[in-house]
Symmetry: C2
Subunit: 591 residues, 2 copies
């Protein structure tokens, strides 16, 4: 008869096969233990209490770990314990994979803390063995199925690090990536210092977060303008700049973005006191063109039909190849591109909101420079990118600016006068996306502009005060951007024979965050009219997705598989688009 395993707390009872390890049975039953060293019995993170059932003598490693941590004697490592009879186990919370929230507002979603970069410390064995294992084997064998890196230079450095220090008992720390590759061997026990970067590589804005991979906590965040903007405001103009002269302009574009990122990384490290050498991984969520330019890959094929990207899914690349100022032997993981014009920022965003596992029909809109839209109908997803342009990021608008301190992010019209709020209540310096939407919507409501966007004031200007204003061209830019998004949503829905009423929810991502006034956004037609409870503002989903991919290795596999499955709709093809788009230019609500 099969032994029965009862799990406390909760009391779930499951049938096990004799000889199976507790770790395997618990994993299969959905209890996520912390199996840090890959079931090698070395990290001591998966201790469980054997409440009833056989308690075999502890192994040497177990005994040492139990003593060092002063744990009760009935604790055994789940990865080594084989079930032989009916057993009752209690799972201590510290042995479970900790869960981290992905969003701080908008929606609830958490992921398990299982980063790609792991560290484990060990003491070099004393001399006297007649033929000891190889030095680097000692390091990689701390982890399951690890191998040595392919780079001979990395091997050389590591062989030096891993060798016997002057004091034979000194500890060293092995650093591994993806449970697969040994990255480095550090002197001493450095397991407490393990950091990673989550990077939102936007066409206009770049944001870098430094994350403690031991706790999942975000230690600091820095944002700035993508240094490539001087080559052009949108993706197309960047590609055009690199086109035909990939050697020179391509390299300049690469340098521009890498230098900008390094400034943010330097600032973060300085402010938090974290050494760049303790950062072994960066995860980058950016659109396809940004990914290519960041790596210095040619983008000319992205510029002409049939718009070939160079890659979709990339294994993590050596950090030193990218020029990012983190540990040179670290890795940079690029969130997978879905298609030439739907990139890793979107696959990361979908990971952040976990769209795949939500039953029902949903629309996900990322209001960045491109304005990508993903429609999920049942189990299937299709994606499209619109040419929304950077208007909502304040670019191409006379007094526009990013959502930074001093930006008007909320506007109201009271008794004919504008009442505005600025970010951080700083003196007004410009208007960001949500402010623009408020101003246009209220100007429309109060008859200062027509539904076709014409400013009725003879000055052809909407003055806000503090030297801020919108002119006719600015309104046109906003109309074009809103129409692009609206047309995208409408065409994706129509293509899948859905209407807004069929949707279980709309996720809106982008710098807008909580600030977007939904009534105003629907009044100008940017978003369809839908039950407020079905509208989720998730803020910077790309960044949250980059962080999720940084903290949870299995999510990468899911994300890559998902990216390969999503269909693509090319909006600009055919007359339908023209017709839809021209209609959509009207500033009016729809559903």
């Amino acid at each position: 008869m099969s032994p029965i395993l009862k799990i406390l707390p909760g009391g779930t009872a499951i049938e096990a096969r004799r000889g199976e390890t507790l770790a395997d049975v618990l994993e299969a039953a959905g209890f996520h233990l912390s199996l840090y060293c890959g079931r090698r019995g070395l990290c001591g993170k998966c201790f469980v209490e054997i409440v009833r059932g056989p308690v075999p003598e502890p192994t040497g490693e177990e005994r040492a770990l139990l003593q060092r941590r002063e744990l009760p004697q009935r604790r055994r490592l789940a990865c080594g314990y084989r079930i032989e009879a009916d057993t009752v186990v209690r799972l201590p919370s510290e042995s479970m994979l900790p869960e981290m929230p992905v969003f701080t507002h908008g929606i609830t979603r958490s992921i398990g803390l299982a980063p790609a970069v792991k560290k484990i410390s060990y003491a070099l064995s004393k001399p006297g063995l007649s033929s000891p294992p190889a030095l680097l084997d000692l390091a990689k064998d701390r982890f399951h199925e690890a191998r040595l890196p392919e780079s001979v230079e990395a091997l050389r450095r590591m062989a030096g690090e891993a060798r016997l220090p002057d004091h034979q008992d000194r500890e060293v720390t092995a650093v591994i990536h993806s449970n697969r590759v040994l990255l480095a061997v550090e002197k001493g026990d450095t397991t407490g210092r393990n950091y990673g970067l989550a990077i939102d590589l936007g066409t206009t804005t770049v944001v870098v977060e430094i994350v403690d991979l031991n706790s999942g906590a975000v230690i600091g965040t820095e944002a700035g303008i993508n240094g490539q903007t001087r080559f052009g405001a949108d993706v197309i103009s960047r590609i055009a700049a690199a086109y035909g002269d990939p050697e020179r302009t391509g390299a300049a574009l690469r340098t521009a973005v890498v230098d900008g990122l390094n400034q943010l990384i330097d600032a973060l490290c300085q402010r938090t006191g974290i050494r760049p050498d303790s950062v072994y991984e960066a995860v980058i969520a950016g659109n396809t063109a940004m990914n290519h330019l960041f790596l210095g890959l040619p983008v000319d094929t992205l510029a002409v039909a049939p718009y070939y990207a160079a890659f979709s899914i990339l294994p993590p690349v050596p950090a030193e190849d990218t020029g990012l100022r983190v540990n040179p032997r670290g890795r940079v993981y690029i969130a997978p591109n879905i298609k030439s014009y739907v990139g890793g920022d979107i696959s990361a965003g979908l990971t952040a909101i976990d769209l795949e596992r939500r039953p029902g029909n949903f629309v996900f809109i990322d209001l960045g420079t491109n304005g990508e839209i993903v429609l999920k109908k049942g189990a299937k997803m299709v994606a499209a990118s619109t040419a929304a342009g950077p208007a909502f990021e304040g670019m191409t608008i006379s007094r526009g600016m990013l959502a930074l301190p001093g930006a008007v992010f909320r506007a109201n019209l009271k008794d004919g006068s504008w009442v505005v709020r600025t970010i951080a209540d700083a003196p007004a310096r410009g208007i960001c996306g949500t402010g623009l939407i408020d101003i246009v919507a209220l100007s429309l409501k109060h008859g200062r502009i027509t539904p076709r966007g014409r400013i009725l004031d003879p000055d052809k200007k909407i003055g806000i005060g503090d030297g801020l204003f919108l002119v006719q061209k600015d309104i046109r830019e906003i109309q074009l951007a809103a129409a692009a998004v609206k047309t995208g949503i409408r065409m994706l829905l129509a293509g899948r024979r859905l209407t807004v009423a069929d949707l279980d929810g709309i996720f809106v991502a982008g710098a807008f965050g909580n600030y977007l006034n939904i009534r105003n956004a629907t009044a100008i037609g940017l978003l369809p009219r839908i039950d407020r409870a079905k509208m989720f503002f998730v803020g910077n989903a790309s960044l949250a997705g980059a962080r999720a991919l940084l903290l949870n290795l299995p999510e990468r596999v899911r994300c890559e598989r998902l990216a390969g499955k999503i269909g693509h709709v090319s909006l600009a093809m055919g007359e339908d688009f023209q017709k839809e788009f021209i209609e959509a230019l009207n500033l009016e609500a729809w559903n």
Copy 2:
């Protein structure tokens, strides 16, 4: 009821599960089809004839392949054919994995032709697709489970190569390694040009073979002296040279061996007309110290107890990191080290003779500069290395030389005069290992030296003619070398409670090859007395092993697993060794 599959020729009948592919069923039954592209239906190498049973409509790929090769219409690709009913198939010989002989003499052993480097050509799809797959996906998707390389530089070059050529229909060729990593994309169909190098990296001699990976044929061979010999004749003196100054001397030692190999590679390429760019892999079989020095890894830990090596098993490293003049994006695979003093030359040698799968008790002796010995008792193996030194390679002997043209390789004493033969019948320039053994054995037999090695002639010289001779020091060197090997064999046997009589065979590897006179070798005690039928001279087993590992990827996995399993005996420890060794110095037969 399960469908029955009958296989022609031969008529084997096996039960299949409905829906299984023919390829899977045949593989499981031990019929090794050529599954070059990893069951993707792209290479067209696994066509079988459906003699009876359902013949579904050919797929697009199948139809194209059938037409191009003018194959009978009842042929289908085994990787795509799903068994639905009783079926009779005929396996054409051209669809089976070709078998290559590993040795040209000594023993019979063959391996399947399944190299790590594969090429497959394809035509880029025409434009007009709304969102085509990524360019590098097109290349890597030709193979099963391939991924892109980690090197960003390799990606950049490849992204350029894989892009749309001027003529849309032109073919390109994807090059893959280990079914896993895309190495390059070449213009045109280059599948006919796929070469590899098998390298025996000896302490004294290096041999390079260039092998056609499409046919398994050896196209050319070059041999030379390891350029490191000027730093010392044996492993210990090389390590000593690098010890303490790894930066300078280590680099010089690395350069010495790499330059020497490159000269041989250049000569081979020139002579055979093969471009170095068509060589995407080299497999190196060398002892642990040679491996480390070749890669520029520190060897100081190999010099002091407990004699740590840096690595045992290494993933294939980028060729450009090593400095070998082959395609820089190719890979160099190092046969796995067993222990610090039993290296990849021995694991390769064991692969060549397939010792693991031979039932019984065996001794494997590699008479190179070290003189490594492996004893297999039942399923278990132990290895030891002796300090035989390079005497049998002619080093440290007054008139010694390598087994090159002009070397005395056979000697006889007729009517008091020496009758010798030289390699290639060239004018005598020196004496190589087999010649030395002949001379010592016959001098002993005819009373010119005593069993303790003393030259009885008052000149203390054994003159051979042509200015060649042995002096007392030379005899001592040969005594020491033979005693080291003899002691090693005896101690390994004793440690496992075996005698020579328990052995099913002795494999003797080394440059000696067929030339070794077994009677003379046993007369001086180098080899034990054993039934001639149980003695196998396999020549350069390291080189044969490197070739086997070059031609058959699964053999690498087996070899790495084997290397991890072999125990190690440190001979020089303890008094037993001293005693045995001193006894073994006597020139006499034993068993």
